[in-house]
């Protein structure tokens, strides 16, 4: 891919992203020396396809359930989804399960197409979503080659009682807007603020299992952290020969790195 073009696009994206962040970005205020670049690794050799990450994400981020009427219509919302890939059939079949959050691409096709800057790339590399600005054109959803963006086809419904378990740190979304994985930025902000109050530098350990999905994963397959820090777990794992990214040839440069060894060897 042509670096010049990419750089040009990046500058524009960064500019727009920064503008979109507005007041929010002012709060980023972590006394870090270097700019962070958030990324995630998902080890498929560890993952057991339990989907705890899927539920944890729903719970942390107030992602609505679609219910029995809408689920058969493919209207479910999963910031973290589980992709099941089957090849062949019994007894020769193979199956692979991939937990798939947003890749927070470094060169995100979704951001480029949004007419109103409702989706943007933050300085720390999070591809965020401004729900209150989105006009619901669903251009980003079609532009994302990973189908990692979700549209609210109707107003979210929770049974009256279940509204009690909504996370107060995350806004619920109305019908007609797109939503997606945010790398649990509310949690990142929280630790950054806390560290600031405590006058402490943040370390890799503070982030490794910070997002709800990473925190809950029984197999410890999901790791999170700063890809600009060469010593972070994610950077280390990212250098592994097992590492790969989804649809790498598209040049989107995902910041979610999968790990997989071909097979068990004697």
């Amino acid at each position: 891919m042509n670096p010049t073009r990419r750089d040009v696009l990046k500058t524009v994206v960064a500019a727009v992203g920064a503008a979109a962040l507005g007041a929010g970005e002012a709060l980023a205020a972590e006394p870090a020396k270097k700019k962070r670049k958030w990324g995630m690794t998902i080890d498929l050799d560890r993952c057991t396809a339990c989907q705890a990450c899927v539920v944890a994400c729903k719970s942390e981020n107030n992602v609505p359930c679609a219910g029995p009427d809408q689920m058969p219509l493919d209207r479910g919302i999963y910031w973290m989804d589980m992709l099941a890939i089957h090849e062949g059939s019994h007894p020769e079949g193979r199956s692979q399960y991939l937990p798939t959050p947003c890749n927070h691409c470094e060169n995100p096709p979704c951001v480029k197409v949004c007419p109103v800057g409702a989706t943007f790339q933050s300085e720390e590399g999070i591809v965020g979503q401004i729900w209150a600005r989105c006009i619901g054109c669903r251009y980003c959803t079609t532009a994302c080659p990973y189908s990692r963006r979700y549209f609210n086809w109707s107003d979210p419904v929770w049974p009256e009682e279940m509204k009690n378990h909504l996370n107060p740190d995350v806004a619920t979304r109305p019908k007609g807007v797109v939503e997606k994985c945010t790398f649990c930025h509310q949690r990142i902000r929280a630790v950054q603020e806390k560290a600031k109050v405590e006058g402490r530098e943040l370390e890799d350990g503070d982030f490794r299992k910070l997002p709800a999905c990473a925190q809950t994963c029984p197999a410890e397959a999901i790791m999170f952290g700063d890809m600009n820090d060469p010593d972070s777990t994610v950077s280390e794992l990212g250098r592994s020969p097992r590492a790969f990214r989804l649809l790498e040839d598209l040049g989107t440069r995902p910041k979610v790195v999968f790990l997989r060894e071909a097979k068990w060897k004697e």
């Binding site: 079949g93 009690n164 378990h165 740190d169 509310q186 902000r189 603020e193 109050v197 925190q215 809950t216």
Partner: protein, 804 residues
């Protein structure tokens, strides 16, 4: 305000502001400071005790399965908003499975009973009127008193879904002092096979713990290690570590199962096998190991009984396990039975030996067959041959937590008489001589009124009309019982038959000491406490049982010295103080509680191996290939030969006491029912009681089928039957029929249909004629001597049905 305090407040305010800002981040671009879409949330009790934005964290224990994971619950303004794993807890170490994550939706489920109710209308109508706690408890106590004074206490059935822990102890105590032998659990329908194998070969009827972290090889016989199984969460962590935490080394996990399940797909190797033939394969592997002289000679010699041929005290010659293996189970024969190639058998046996310490295990469904006991014993025996018992990297019997037992209740004469009666389910008696309980035999006995009539039934965490074969039969049986009481917090099929519903508090609203299923290898209890104020007019069943006992009065009431359930809980915790070698050493209850609140449990550190002194509690004090206990029990059966013939058991003599192989017996003829049912629990299923939780229902794969009851077919079978994904099909078995949505699953074996359990409609309707989500399609068949419910041997046919 003091300065220090002021500072704290300022800091807290700042943090709060920061948090709010973080929440607003997504909206920041619009410079919106408030969340314009915040939903109006209904009032809940307990919010008054909280300041605005104030949050607290509580440590407690999950209850979505019996694994006993430690949790931390975030409560903001009195509302529980998040459940995380507790990092300090040794079972889950801060992680949590999908069922554990979903607990909030159980707590805030809209269908919960809001207070005690009494049936209004005929049984099963699902109509209720509110009743006061005093009235309900008074009336139930009175009825129980009457039954007992009539000398019919044995007719009271306590159906207890909890396999271990304090509530089970409480029910058990009640059974003892009241005088009924019918404290019935679900184990015959669950891990029964494995428990019996442990009971007869080890002398300890308890699931063993596995030392995953230092094992060299894992061979799973149909065990659903990544989907159900109570040690799943622990195994998930360990298996992940086994594969990736040791540079240059990766422990192999081989899964054997007829269905290419999620577990199979996540294993390093999957071996396809004919349904219900695990036992034969285990015997074949053992044959190779023994034939080639590869078993752990030292272990076999020092710690086992019945390997070589032996002569008993009476001078009678007995066959040893070695002889049985070498003569009866050559790989050629085993290969024919199992469909696993001779080459694979030889290779797997070699791998097991070469990668010692290796673990061979079966669980739940795998040993749930008409040949269940023999199968479970055969698999378990592999561990002994490999010398993996009580050794690092193998399995140990996890010792219980050393809390002080309650003083003996001391049944009175009346109670003793009741206790001495034969159990209504026939287990232990000549009907099912080797069984430790057989819940699925109850409906027939109740309907027949034999050996005696059922007087009352208590349903604690039990919904047999849904979770046991022949749900309709249960409904009929309940009609015959004069008093049925359910403690379920949510409506279910069995609860519809109840006269009273005395709703329990959910696990996030009550006190408890939890004894997790063994998994980490050392004594452990998890501690449960309310994290929010109880939402409704509910009472912990512990409290209610104590109150009922008091209402019965006399020695029954006296046996429950606690005013409240919470007192009993605290007493038990107190008794764990200052136990040597434990996670908490403290002098006062308050310190203990503090420790518990942080750690959400009590445990002693680390595995202990080679504790030979109390490892085996068999007559020989060793691991028994030949179970003397089985021999003893069978000897007590009058005219054993006739009984065996009548039940179609082919095995005779010593082989009955050894690991052995019986042909599986399928229900339904192959001609009439060409398919075999593979009923299984997906990860999204948390037993029947939680099949209503949206978060879990919607992780179903394929997603489109979430909320539907589906039947899974191999693509070629589907093609032959002209069935396409999404079609509606009728599935018929000898036991019943139901409509299901067709799913085409490449991992399904040809000739088998997969039925993920616990799907289907919610809320359950009393008049539901199509209870597809339950186990209604499974035949009520079992191991003829051990009473293990078969879950694998029901045949079925499937036909296309037009959408109505």
């Amino acid at each position: 305000m003091k300065k220090q305090e002021k500072q704290n407040t300022a800091r807290r305010d700042f943090l709060r502001g920061a948090l709010a800002a973080a929440g607003g981040f997504a909206l920041a671009g619009c410079r919106q400071t408030e969340d314009p879409y915040a939903l109006n949330r209904p009032a809940v009790p307990g919010t008054a005790g909280y300041g605005t934005h104030q949050e607290k964290w509580f440590s407690s224990a999950c209850s979505q399965c019996w694994a006993g994971c430690g949790i931390r619950v975030r409560v903001v303004e009195g509302r529980a908003v998040r459940i995380d794993g507790n990092v300090a807890h040794p079972i889950n170490r801060g992680t949590l499975g999908p069922k554990g994550q979903s607990g909030l939706q159980v707590l805030y489920h809209p269908d919960r009973f809001k207070g005690p109710v009494r049936r209004d209308g005929p049984r099963g109508s699902g109509k209720w009127t509110p009743v006061s706690w005093d009235t309900a408890i008074g009336e139930i106590g009175k009825t129980l008193q009457d039954i007992r004074s009539r000398g019919e206490s044995r007719g009271v059935l306590l159906l207890d879904g909890e396999p271990r822990g304090m509530m089970r102890d409480l029910w058990s105590r009640f059974a003892t002092v009241y005088g009924t032998p019918n404290h019935v659990d679900h184990r015959a329908a669950s891990d029964g096979g494995k428990l019996l194998a442990m009971a007869y070969m080890h002398g300890v009827p308890e699931i063993p713990a596995y030392d995953w972290n230092s094992t060299g090889y894992v061979l799973g016989f149909g065990a659903s290690l990544f989907e159900s199984w109570c040690q799943s969460i622990h195994f998930m962590r360990s298996s992940s570590a086994l594969r990736r935490n040791m540079p240059g080394k990766r422990v192999k996990f081989v899964q054997i199962s007829p269905r290419h399940s999620t577990t199979a797909s996540r294993a390093d190797e999957w071996v396809d096998i004919n349904p219900a033939t695990y036992g034969a394969l285990a015997l074949g592997l053992s044959h190779v190991i023994v034939r080639d002289g590869l078993c752990d000679q030292e272990f076999v010699k020092d710690h086992t009984f019945g390997f070589e041929d032996w002569t008993d005290a009476a001078g009678k010659k007995h066959r040893g396990y070695k002889d049985l293996l070498l003569t009866d189970y050559p790989p050629e024969k085993v290969s024919k039975i199992t469909g696993v190639s001779k080459k694979t058998i030889e290779r797997l046996a070699r791998e097991l030996v070469d990668h010692r310490p290796a673990i061979a295990l079966a669980d739940g469904g795998a040993a749930a067959a008409t040949n269940g006991l023999g199968t479970a014993m055969s698999i378990h025996a592999l561990n002994a041959l490999l010398g993996n018992i009580e050794r690092p990297g193998g399995m140990v019997v996890q010792r219980p937590a050393p809390y002080a037992p309650w003083p003996d209740a001391g049944p009175d004469e009346g109670a003793k008489k009741g206790l001495a009666s034969e159990r209504l389910d026939g287990s232990g008696a000549s009907r099912l001589p080797l069984a430790h309980g057989c819940i699925q035999a109850l409906p027939d006995a109740i309907l027949a009124g034999a050996p005696y009539a059922a007087q009352a039934a208590f349903l604690y965490r039990s919904n047999p009309a849904f979770s046991k074969p022949g749900g309709k039969r249960w409904t009929e049986a309940f009609q015959k019982i004069p008093l049925v009481v359910s403690f379920s917090p949510l409506p279910d099929e069995s609860t519809f038959q109840a006269d009273f519903v005395l709703p329990d508090r959910t696990y996030l609203e009550r006190w408890e000491v939890v004894e997790p299923v063994p998994s980490v290898g050392h004594p452990i209890v998890s501690f449960r406490q309310p994290v929010v104020e109880p939402l409704y007019d509910t009472r912990a069943t512990g409290d209610v049982l104590i109150q009922i006992a008091k209402a019965v009065g006399g020695p029954v009431g006296d046996a429950f010295p606690w005013d409240t359930w919470r007192k009993a809980v605290e007493e038990r915790l107190q008794s764990l103080l200052n136990v040597e070698d434990s996670s908490i050493v403290a002098g006062k209850l308050s310190d203990l509680r503090k420790g518990m609140e942080k750690d959400s449990g009590w445990w002693s550190p680390g595995f202990k191996f080679e504790q030979w002194a109390d490892a085996f509690r068999t007559p020989s004090g060793k691991f028994e290939f030949y179970s003397q206990e089985i021999a003893r029990k069978l000897a007590a059966v009058p005219d054993l030969e006739r009984e065996l013939t009548a039940r179609g058991v082919v095995t005779r003599g010593d082989d009955l006491c050894l690991p052995h192989w019986e042909l599986p017996r399928f229900s339904g003829s192959a001609a009439e029912f060409p398919f075999t049912v593979a009923a299984y629990r997906g990860i999204e299923y948390a037993e029947g009681g939680s099949r209503h939780v949206p978060w879990l229902r919607e992780i179903s794969l394929p997603r489109r089928d979430a909320w539907k009851q589906r039947v899974e077919l191999h693509p070629d079978d589907a093609k032959e039957l002209k069935l396409a994904a999404g079609d509606t099909a009728r599935v018929e078995t000898p036991a019943g029929s139901a409509r299901m949505s067709v799913a085409i699953i490449p991992g399904m074996r040809r000739g088998m249909i997969g039925i993920p359990l616990g799907q289907g409609k919610w809320p359950p309707k009393p008049d539901d004629t199509d209870p597809s989500g339950g186990y209604a399609l499974l035949a009520n068949a079992m191991d003829p001597l051990a009473g293990i419910l078969t879950l694998q041997e029901t045949r079925a046919r499937i036909t296309r049905e037009k959408r109505t």
